[in-house]
Assembly symmetry: C2
Homo-oligomer: 218 residues x 2
């Protein structure tokens, strides 16, 4: 069932999940595709089409059970996983990610934070002490992390990723501008280029016709 789902549908699932969480927190128990569409600024047919990819959760004339649909989408996204995550780079951004993101909510557990800056070593972030990148290899051999969050400049990133791939880290949440898949095409990668987003906003605000529709699905 989960095979052959288009990438654009997959890209929309986190957004569904997020809106369903909101609805749940507001005590909404069921919702029609029309109501959900209005809230998400989408269309009822788009929503029905997307959710049908996974077998369709709605019932004609009843709508969707919010809690069930959220749980189903969460399962498709593997948010019920137990992935061990390490964070490389405890600068401003890295520390903020460690403290700000509730990894457990997404099937992840942050188990280590690494930096090469000696001044940061031992500092406590999100209940973890920042360790030296010199200890990264040993740590990986022992703890076998699944995923790494990269919050380092492009310069050091290639070396770090090479080491991590050698230790079977296969997924990267990449905040650096290093193009991981250019060198490691097998890696699972999500790039977050914050400044690309700022540049896009710069364009949008000077060329306003771009705005509303484009943003609908983000």
């Amino acid at each position: 069932m989960e095979k052959n789902i288009s990438k654009s549908v997959i890209r929309r699932l986190p957004r569904y999940y997020r809106f369903l969480e909101e609805l749940l927190s507001e005590g909404v128990e069921k919702i029609s595709s029309g109501q959900l569409a209005e809230r998400m600024r989408s269309t009822a047919s788009q929503i029905r089409q997307d959710l049908n990819c996974f077998g369709g959760f709605g019932q004609q004339g009843y709508g969707y059970n919010v809690a069930e649909l959220r749980a189903e989408i969460g399962a498709i996204l593997h948010l019920d996983g137990k992935r061990k995550v390490i964070l490389i780079g405890a600068g401003n951004l890295g520390r903020a990610i460690a403290a700000h993101i509730d990894f457990a909510q997404y099937g992840c557990e942050l188990i280590g934070i690494f930096d090469r800056d000696r001044a940061l070593l031992g500092l406590d972030i999100a209940g973890l002490k920042i360790c030296s990148t010199n200890a990264l290899g040993d740590f990986c051999r022992e703890k076998k992390p699944d995923m790494a969050v990269l919050c380092i400049p492009r310069e050091g990133a290639k070396e770090a990723v090479k080491l991590l791939v050698e230790h079977n880290v296969r997924a990267f949440w990449n905040f650096s501008h290093y193009d991981i898949q250019g060198d490691f095409p097998e890696a699972a990668v999500e790039n977050v280029h914050l400044t690309d987003s700022l540049m896009t906003l710069s364009y949008i605000m000077e060329n306003n016709e771009f705005s509303a529709k484009e943003e609908q699905n983000t």
Copy 2:
């Protein structure tokens, strides 16, 4: 010339800009569409097509002048602007954005940081003292900011955006999960949903066939 450019081309421009910056920093003066394509994991025809939207900068048999092309794309993205930016929410993420992002490089100047948490007031971030959100209206009347970075929870975001829109702030770099354009369709908005990205990575790493191609353009 800049009209009728497809949104997907616009979305790719920051990536071109980023790669051209890299090339420039490496001292590369000119590059063919083929070489650029290889580096960006795109195709030469895609690149020529994209850049032709803006009049085409290349010269047959010579390739692109890296510095010129970068400057041209920067101008299209209005990175030579002088936009006044304020940041709302000086928690972990907000402080990291203030300290981590080089706003000046993108035609922006961070002129104010606001939070409602009294414990944070007066704290110095990126050369600015954190101010109370109570002072936001007065500040806007006096300084007329163009753009706001929202690093607050969804709960307080609607109220903040309403106030800002009333004070003619028309662009939002939105890290909150508040759907600004649902209430303010005229606003220029770039949403950054970090946890959507983490959820997508969660899916990708468990369904590896998704990976390489999809990431090509991010």
